[in-house]
């Protein structure tokens, strides 16, 4: 390049750049809008395969929309008109019908005769068997989830004939059937998968990670990691009414302000993952449909390490429970997007509903009295951690808790733990004496919650809590049917123990909020918190 030319380019030529920038903005094309749903999400899908190690929670949406299971959950309508899945009601998906053996040791499924995969090949019992074998064999999360329903070994699964599939129980459990309807036991096209399996990778995890092979209501049209996933309707879907929209674009928009602007401008049809404050405001505006469903079997709570100095004393834990400014947290941190879990009537639970309000409310005098009784009249100091990944509500909550505890002399040092370190520090190392936690159980039973959170040694028992009653009663109740006469008394006994011992101080049961344009209908809440696009339509 000649020197003079170079200088001209920078000095004069730079001005010319302004010209295209002033050109009118390209107007978005309206074509294709009517049968396409644009969903803006804050999270990123990192795999097409829920069985792969490292697949994150947002990717469960792929298992929900692109694959079928043997069974699904029905629908129930809440008092405010919000539709949600019905845990009590298992409905056919790929299975047309099922029957339990007379001796109660197995269940046999009849597959839908005309069900086909996207490539046109029929769905056979062999495919089901292969998929179930895979889920219990690959290890990691899918295997753990299958084990929760006592689905543990390939020998339990038999392809009786082309359309008949049998599961042999290790022992009867009420958790087995609902565990078949969670996102994990998807039915994969085993012919396609086997063709792409290798010696080192017999379950074709590399292939299925990028290329889904299912029979679900939607097929994958595009996946640009970090940008978008596009579903396209599978017109030969046999497991339910055809979806109301032809295409669903799940576009990742990291900034929640931008997601809200896109909804308010009318460009996005559905906005997910908005902070509670935005939802409260969008709801108040009355111009959008805001579906709010309480997340079942889930609570936002404060966990206390029961092996940590003062917290070893039950009275200190109760004192903390009396010194939480519940009302303020609910209003200022949660923007009332939830159900209060404080102020229960009695230490004796009236029923076995879960979660239910704990019998504590803000009462600083009572807290002080309890502390004095336990020998901590002058209070003490304790580190208090929250997950930075949920800072939008957990940071104000932490500060309010700090303020409340300060009034009874408990000094808290608030620590922000980055989201990725949270699991290691809180769940594996269990190193935070006091922390905010939000666990939710997929299978909706109090004993299932107790199994994950209250039993000694469990991953989510970050309170290091151990109580012999809880250990034995949880074990006894876990696989009992709900109708069993012993079930309710056992659950009441568990809940009464949780009330009295409070290793975990619940504050509220959160809502899962979704904001939509008024012309979108068919939204249904699911325990897995992902958008099930199969029932959505657009007027």
């Amino acid at each position: 390049m000649d020197r003079r030319n170079f200088l001209k380019l920078t000095a004069y030529g730079a001005g010319a750049v302004a010209v295209p920038m002033l050109a009118p903005f390209g107007a978005p094309q309206a074509a294709g809008r009517a049968d396409t749903l644009l969903v803006v999400v804050g999270s990123t899908v990192n795999s097409m395969d829920i069985h792969r190690a490292g697949t994150n929670r947002p990717s469960y949406a792929i298992a929900v929309n692109l694959y079928d299971r043997l069974v699904g959950f029905g629908t129930k309508t809440l008092a405010d008109g919000t539709e949600m899945y019905d845990y009590q009601n298992l409905t056919p998906e790929l299975a047309e019908s099922w029957a339990f053996a007379a001796d109660g040791t197995s269940v046999t499924f009849k597959l839908k005769p005309d069900a086909v995969f996207w490539d046109g090949s029929p769905v056979t019992a062999e495919d089901v068997k292969w998929s179930f074998d895979r889920a219990v064999s690959v290890g990691g999360f899918p295997t753990t989830q299958m084990r929760a329903g006592l689905l543990e070994k390939p020998e339990q699964f038999t392809a009786v004939d082309e359309k008949t599939f049998r599961i042999d129980f290790l022992r009867p459990s009420k958790l087995t059937m609902p565990d078949l309807a969670v996102p994990v036991p998807i039915i994969i096209n085993s012919k396609v998968a086997k063709a792409n399996a290798t010696q080192d990778d017999p379950w074709a995890t590399e292939y299925l990670h990028r290329n889904p092979a299912g029979s679900g209501a939607f097929m994958l049209e595009r996946w640009d990691p970090g940008q978008q996933v596009v579903y396209k309707r599978f017109d030969d879907w046999k497991c339910g009414p055809l979806p109301g929209v032809e295409r669903v674009i799940m576009r990742e928009i990291p900034s929640s302000s931008t997601r809200r602007a896109l909804l308010e401008r009318g460009d996005a049809d559905i906005s997910l993952d908005l902070p509670p404050k935005d939802f409260a405001e969008l709801m108040a505006s009355g111009r959008y449909t805001v579906a709010a469903a309480p997340i079942e079997n889930s609570m936002i709570a404060i966990g206390l390490d029961t092996t940590y100095g003062p917290f070893q004393d039950k009275r200190v834990r109760q004192a903390v429970a009396y010194a939480i400014p519940y009302e303020q947290i609910f209003k200022q941190a949660a923007f009332e997007r939830g159900i209060p879990m404080w102020g229960g009537a009695s230490f004796e639970p009236a029923d076995i509903s879960w979660p239910q309000p704990f019998p504590y409310s803000t009462d600083y005098d009572k807290a002080k009295a309890l502390l004095a009784e336990a020998g901590y009249a002058d209070g003490f100091e304790v580190p208090f951690a929250f997950n930075l990944g949920f800072a939008q509500w957990s940071e104000p909550m932490a500060l309010l808790v700090q303020e409340g505890l300060g009034k009874v002399g408990i000094r808290t040092a608030v620590e922000k733990v980055p989201g990725a370190n949270w699991r290691t520090q809180v769940l594996i190392e269990k190193k935070w004496p006091m922390h905010i936690k939000n666990f939710g159980g997929w299978l909706n039973y109090p004993d299932y919650y107790a199994f994950w959170v209250y039993q000694d040694g469990r991953l989510f028992n970050s309170m290091k809590y151990r109580n012999e009653t809880v250990e034995t009663v949880t074990e006894e109740a876990l696989h009992l049917p709900v109708e069993h006469p012993d079930y309710a008394p056992k659950i009441k006994q568990l809940i009464a123990t949780f009330f009295d011992e409070v290793p975990l101080i619940p504050v509220f049961q959160p809502y899962l909020d979704v904001a939509m344009q008024p012309n979108v209908s068919g939204y249904k809440f699911y325990f897995h918190r992902q958008l099930d696009a199969r029932w959505l339509s657009k007027a």
Binding site: R265, P418, G419, A420
Partner: protein
């Protein structure tokens, strides 16, 4: 003669880069391992138990000793394999190839915008010190550097998209109802022109405008200040006085003599600003859903995705070496006294 010198210069520079790159490889490897957080725990998923965490650890090769991991990593590097990003499940090379052009395109346009404002502003401010234009320069520069990027970004989105509705929806590189142009360079504007698709070119450019301005505003300050300072120094020197006394026209004095001599510090600043912009425009990427390299690196860092972090740092190191080389060559173009000997 000049040609051979340039080749020698490039060769010398590349040789000098070898130790730095080696250093970068070692340091990033050690630093990523020193990160808090255990990737095996994170990637084992929400309901994993000790057994499945161990399975994941083995699958990731993290059960091996550090020197062993390092040797494997080196071996892979020599075959051009940067490893697999565990969070996205794709080869790191693929991720970088896909995301780098998005960042580069945005950064180039932002720099062009920044230059087209900063250069004239700086020159005008230098030729008329303490006039209103000098004060304007000061105000623009202060505002540009003191407003946080996410604020400017959200503000521009609010005004031009939300209120006025003239900007396209901030949905990333291209509006959802356009298809990506066929991949040649990865720059959507260039690729769409190569494909002769003016519609897509317009759509891609429209998506670029707001994020580029947001990013550009932030870099106005160093460029304008440097232009003003360098021009002031040159304009007061003897040879300019001589040129003026000889009756040369004002533009000739200003652009041919003064600006050329003021160009070196501006170029230096440009190089620094460019590399700084590439890595640090995460906030712009978040607000405009831009699938760039910055947010990829941050996400990888947060989840201790070793291969991705190492790949990112390495790519940036190479880019930086290349950039310095280009700047050095440009020096020799601007000022023939520089570079040919050393």
């Amino acid at each position: 003669m000049a040609r051979r010198s340039t080749v020698a210069l490039i060769g010398g520079r590349l040789l000098q880069a070898v130790p730095s790159i080696a250093g970068v490889i070692i340091v990033t490897f050690i630093l990523t391992r020193a990160l808090p957080g255990d990737p095996a725990v994170y990637f084992a998923g929400p309901a994993a138990d000790a057994q499945s965490i161990e399975q994941v650890r083995q699958a990731l090769g993290l059960d091996r000793s550090l020197p062993e991991q390092f040797l494997i990593y080196l071996g892979d590097l020599f075959t051009g394999d940067l490893g697999q990003s565990i969070s996205t499940g794709r080869p790191v090379v693929e991720e970088l190839i896909r995301r780098m052009p998005a960042s580069l395109e945005l950064t180039f346009l932002a720099l062009l915008f920044s230059l087209s404002v900063a250069l004239p502003l700086g020159i005008l401010a230098a030729t008329r010190p303490n006039s209103w234009i000098d004060h304007l320069c000061r105000v623009v520069v202060t505002a540009g550097v003191s407003l946080p990027v996410f604020f400017t970004g959200l503000f521009l989105v609010y005004v031009f998209y939300f209120i006025l509705g003239i900007a396209p929806s901030p949905l990333g590189r291209i509006d959802i109802f356009y298809l990506d142009p066929p991949h040649v360079t990865g720059f959507f504007t260039i690729d769409s022109l190569l494909a002769g698709d003016i519609d897509t070119f317009g759509a891609a450019l429209a998506q670029l405008v707001l994020p580029a301005i947001t990013l550009g505003l932030f870099t106005l300050a160093p460029l304008a200040r440097m232009t003003r300072g360098a021009m002031l120094a040159v304009l007061s020197s003897d040879f300019i006085r001589t040129a003026r006394a000889s009756g040369l026209s004002r533009p000739t004095v200003l652009y041919t003599y003064a600006l050329r001599n003021a160009m070196l510090p501006i170029l230096t600043t440009l190089g620094m600003v460019f590399s700084f912009m590439l890595g640090s425009n995460v906030l712009v990427e978040k607000v405009f859903a831009w699938p760039g390299i910055g947010s990829f690196a941050i996400e990888a860092l947060i989840v201790s995705d070793y291969a991705a972090v190492q790949g990112f740092v390495l790519a940036m190191a190479f880019l930086y070496v290349a950039l310095n080389l280009v700047i050095d060559i440009l020096y020799t173009v601007v000022d023939p006294r520089i570079g040919l000997e050393g």
